[in-house]
């Protein structure tokens, strides 16, 4: 680090290590999928050389939303459901910052669902990781919108009543969608590749990460973990190309062109086998901040000029000072 220098310019390259992004010992349960997501994201930060002071992780409320506390970057652990609009405020005003959002299935798909839909439409350069464990964890086991029908929980002791909401199809149904991917916490190599692709996409990257909750949903994903055939790897030259090792285990591979929205919607509808990879990517969708952000330097003189011009519109001049045009 450049500590001690009077100059803010960095005069030499420095390489940050994983430890430079780590902060404290995560307090998630043993076996919680959040740990895998944290590891993938810290690795991403290192590999992409993100400056810790120029990186902001914004979250809402829930187990997943503890995420920023474990990053040695700036973090904003806000209120339930509202991570996205907070992140958007940061993103609009600070093009120099990298903005991430960590959210859960309750935070994003229930209390924050309105913001989620609109975030897709704004398409701001924010990377969203939806930690989807299909259950409310922090409040101790209540059914979430993504809980499969029949899920027994403290609020649905006889099984949940409704079909699960599919975050992928919802996102892919919104105008201006520009990046949708799905990962699973138990395939870390793919998780990393997907997180990296999401980071490199300019626009709103929506990554649903299927995440195990050993405490409240033990064995929920066992059928998929134990049978690689039930994972559909999405492969494409423009998307992800799994390594040889991975391809030996996961043989159910589907060629999927991420520019094909119709196909993406069809793939997204598939619950079993579960698709993993990049479903959709479109670099052409404009970002809201690019449409709105001013490129002018807001000096006092600049503000004054604008203000005086407005005052002129509403000014009543005394007789002797009347403007020539009106005289």
């Amino acid at each position: 680090m450049t500590h001690g220098s009077e100059c803010l310019l960095r005069l030499y390259e420095e390489r940050l290590e994983l430890e430079d992004y780590q902060n404290g010992v995560p307090r998630w349960c043993n076996g919680c999928g959040d740990n895998a997501i944290l590891a993938a994201v810290q690795r991403l930060c290192r590999d992409e050389g993100l400056r810790p002071e120029k990186t902001v992780f914004v979250s809402g409320i829930g187990c997943s939303s503890r995420f920023p506390h474990y990053m040695n970057t700036y973090g904003f652990h806000g209120i339930h459901g509202r991570a996205l609009p907070i992140a958007q405020g940061v993103c609009l005003t600070r093009p120099d910052l990298k903005v991430f959002v960590n959210t859960g299935d309750g935070d994003c798909c229930s209390i924050g669902a309105g913001h989620w839909v609109h975030a897709v439409r704004y398409n701001m350069n924010i990377k969203l990781f939806l930690h989807d464990n299909q259950i409310y964890g922090l409040t101790k086991k209540q059914a979430s919108p993504t809980s499969p029908a029949g899920t027994r929980s403290n609020t649905t002791p006889r099984g949940s009543y409704l079909e699960a909401l599919n975050p992928l199809t919802v996102t892919l149904g919104v105008q201006n969608v520009s990046f949708v991917a799905q990962a699973a916490d138990w395939i870390p190599e793919l998780l990393y590749d997907i997180v990296k692709a999401a980071y490199r996409h300019k626009g709103f990257s929506f990554v649903r990460i299927i995440q195990r909750c050993p405490e409240f949903m033990p064995n929920q994903f066992d059928p998929w973990m134990h049978d690689p055939q039930r994972t559909m790897l999405l492969r494409h030259a423009q998307g992800i190309t799994p390594s040889e090792g991975l391809a030996r285990v996961y043989r159910n591979v589907r060629e999927h062109d991420p520019s094909d929205l119709e196909r993406a919607r069809a793939v997204a509808s598939c619950i079993d086998p579960v698709p993993v990879g990049i479903l959709y990517r479109n670099e052409e969708v404009p970002c809201y901040e690019d449409l709105r952000r001013s490129t002018k330097m807001r000096t006092a003189a600049y503000v004054k000029a604008g203000l005086e011009a407005e005052f002129d519109k509403f000014t009543i001049w005394p007789e002797e000072a009347r403007t020539p045009a009106a005289a």
């Binding site: 803010l8 120029k54 609009p85 005003t93 503000v303 009106a326």
Partner: protein
């Protein structure tokens, strides 16, 4: 613009020799169906009068619906203009004169008691001979009632006269009416023509010429046909003045404050501030973000503030309720934030277009837990402008939420004020991006003031996670009882620190005496007018107007001690002690009265009105007289 020729009077009006009555002030209403331009007529009269140097206060009369049915009571749209020889600080009492484009738009105002006994009414006469017998009958009936009730009614063939000049009298009658008013009030016609050129400046010359012709026609018609004429003396202003309504003043304040993000969601009556801001903010590099909902608007502003520069969100009652959780987050995280609440009638959807001061307590205590925030209330149109600049400054100096409580009365009223002189100190310096010194923590609360240095993303070595959870000085989540106690103390102390910088509010009226009236927000002008009137009658009274409600400024208790009685005048509910089941044990006091009683242990009484209208000085005067009378009864006097 080369309008020299156009702006010369066409002919010198052949004025019949009428007696011109000199007036101190008059209140005029222009009423029409929505879309017939009564608003523009009234506003133009206000602007012309202000330019002549009269005191002016204009208020919009707005129907709640976008396209209310024509000729309907609830569809009345227009403007109310109070013109005075001296400075005018409020909308005043009942109206002296009205021009109505049909009798229906008059009825609602009449039933609401908005006209003085014997007021002059100029009524469009085209309905008398209308082909629909129902309409003609309705007109005749209303006309007879008005005459019977003692109003001075003049039937004016506005339609007929306008059709001599234009194809569609609906477009242009307002300018004919303006011409009539210019004659009635002896307005400067050169200024009037100029005003039309300014108003229609964006349109082409033929539009301006057509409107000037109508104006002149109305003027000539009134000169020739009306048997009365007034003069309201004016002193030409010596300094440039700004004429805007309260919401535009707020938006101009946003420009001047150097804030660069306003996040909002459409809501009445706050939205017009954002409309204007949307038009101009980008010219100074700002952004109006229309969020998907009120909560998102608040959260967006919080995110923008957290990232560097204080942002604001503008809303009205229901939206303010929705923002409360976000406001609590900003309090907890010590993120500067300006929240403007243009209050309207409540609760729930209430009266969206009407004035009320019902949100004081929710502004102070709205979020759950102990969430100290600053609450200010502008008391005039001018103050709407400066309050925003002050609010931004306080927000960033103390890392606090500042709530600015305007209301529908200020939002739609216009009053000229001296053109502000720009100062660089209004604008915040760019966010600090320097290195955080070793060992510094994001919440290093000062032992005395509770203040801590603000860390902004981008600052090297300042990395931490801001959290809405209870946290220690390092922003680490803390469940430790001592840490929570310390943190709440620090956030609370900031209010006391701000209070130390405030000045005692000045007294208007007697320095000591029988009754002190305390008010806040939009009622200042009306209260002072009532107090002034009582003092002229020899009463020993004064008023004090609070611009800071939280923290309260110093000097209030001392001022209260110098008066035998203290009462607040407010636009929010208080129970009437005369009601059968109301007594001292269950009476609900008005918001400010409750606060003053709790803080100063003084028996503060209150008088309030929640009729959705700006409180009239006459109503306040009567309430004060009642209070003074009652206090002569020794059993009611304070010990």
């Amino acid at each position: 613009m080369n309008d020299t020729l156009l702006l010369q009077p066409e002919t010198t009006a052949a004025s019949t020799s009428k007696t011109v009555t000199a007036l101190d002030e008059h209140i005029v209403e222009v009423l029409s169906d929505s879309g017939e331009g009564a608003q523009r007529c009234g506003q133009s009269l206000g602007a012309i009068s202000a330019r002549m140097g009269n005191g002016v206060w204009t208020v919009e009369i707005i129907p709640a619906e976008i396209q209310p049915p024509a000729r309907s009571v609830e569809g009345a749209s227009g403007n109310r203009v109070r013109i005075g020889a001296c400075g005018i600080t409020n909308g005043g009492d009942e109206s002296d004169l009205a021009i109505a484009f049909n009798e229906q738009v008059l009825l609602g105002r009449l039933r609401a008691g908005e006209f003085k006994p014997g007021a002059t009414i100029l009524l469009e006469s085209m309905w008398r001979g209308h082909s629909d017998p129902k309409i003609a009958a309705s007109y005749l009936q209303t006309h007879q009632e008005l005459v019977k009730a003692g109003y001075r009614v003049y039937e004016i063939p506005m339609e007929r006269e306008c059709l001599k000049l234009v194809q569609d009298a609906r477009k242009g009658k307002n300018m004919f009416a303006l011409g009539m008013l210019c004659s009635i009030y002896s307005r400067d016609m050169a200024l009037a023509r100029e005003q039309i050129a300014l108003t229609f400046g964006k349109k082409n010359r033929s539009v301006i010429e057509a409107n000037v012709k109508l104006l002149d026609a109305g003027f000539r018609w009134a000169e020739a046909n009306l048997d009365f004429k007034y003069r309201i003396p004016a002193a030409r202003p010596s300094v440039p003045q700004i004429v805007v309504n309260g919401n535009t003043a707020i938006a101009l304040g946003v420009l001047a404050s150097g804030m660069e993000v306003c996040a909002m969601y459409p809501i009445t009556p706050a939205t017009s501030a954002s409309h204007y801001l949307s038009e101009v903010f980008e010219k100074v590099g700002g952004v109006v973000h229309q969020a998907e909902d009120e909560i998102a608007a608040c959260a967006f502003a919080i995110g923008a503030s957290y990232a560097g520069r204080c942002a604001l969100t503008i809303t009205s009652g229901p939206g303010f309720s929705l923002k409360q959780e976000g406001i609590g987050l900003a309090v907890m995280g010590e993120i500067p934030l300006v929240v403007v609440n243009v209050q309207r009638g409540g609760p729930s959807t209430g009266q969206p277009t009407k004035a009320e001061q019902g949100d004081l307590l929710s502004a102070m205590f709205g979020s759950h837990g102990d969430a100290p925030k600053v609450v200010m209330a502008p008391c005039s149109i001018e103050d709407c402008f400066y309050s925003i600049i002050t609010a931004r400054k306080i927000a960033e100096t103390f890392n606090m939420v500042v709530v600015v409580l305007s209301d529908a009365a200020l939002a739609t009223s216009q009053q000229p004020f001296p053109r502000p002189q720009f100062s660089e100190t209004w604008i915040a310096p760019p966010p600090d991006q320097g290195e955080i010194p070793p060992g510094a923590r994001p919440y290093d609360w000062d032992e005395v003031t509770g203040l801590a240095r603000r860390f902004v993303p981008g600052q090297p070595h300042g990395m931490h996670t801001l959290t809405g959870l209870a946290h220690d000085r390092s922003s680490h989540v803390a469940y430790d009882p001592q840490i929570n106690q310390e943190a709440i103390r620090a956030r609370s102390l900031k209010l006391a620190a701000l209070a130390k910088t405030l000045k005692a509010p000045p007294l208007y009226g007697d320095p000591e005496g029988d009754l002190l009236v305390i008010g806040w927000g939009s009622t200042k002008g009306a209260i002072e007018e009532a107090v002034g009137a009582l003092r002229e009658q020899g009463h020993k009274v004064a008023s004090m107007h609070l611009r800071f409600l939280q923290p309260l400024p110093p000097g209030i208790k001392e001022a209260m001690r110098r008066f035998r009685q203290v009462m607040t005048v407010e636009g929010n509910w208080c129970d009437d002690p005369a009601d059968e089941i109301i007594d001292e044990n269950n009476r609900r006091y008005s918001a400010l009265a409750m606060l003053l009683r709790a803080r100063y242990l003084v028996d503060v009484d209150c008088w309030s009105e929640v009729k959705g209208q700006p409180i009239k000085p006459g109503a306040i005067r009567r309430a004060l007289i009642e209070k003074l009378k009652a206090s002569r009864d020794p059993k009611d006097a304070m010990p």
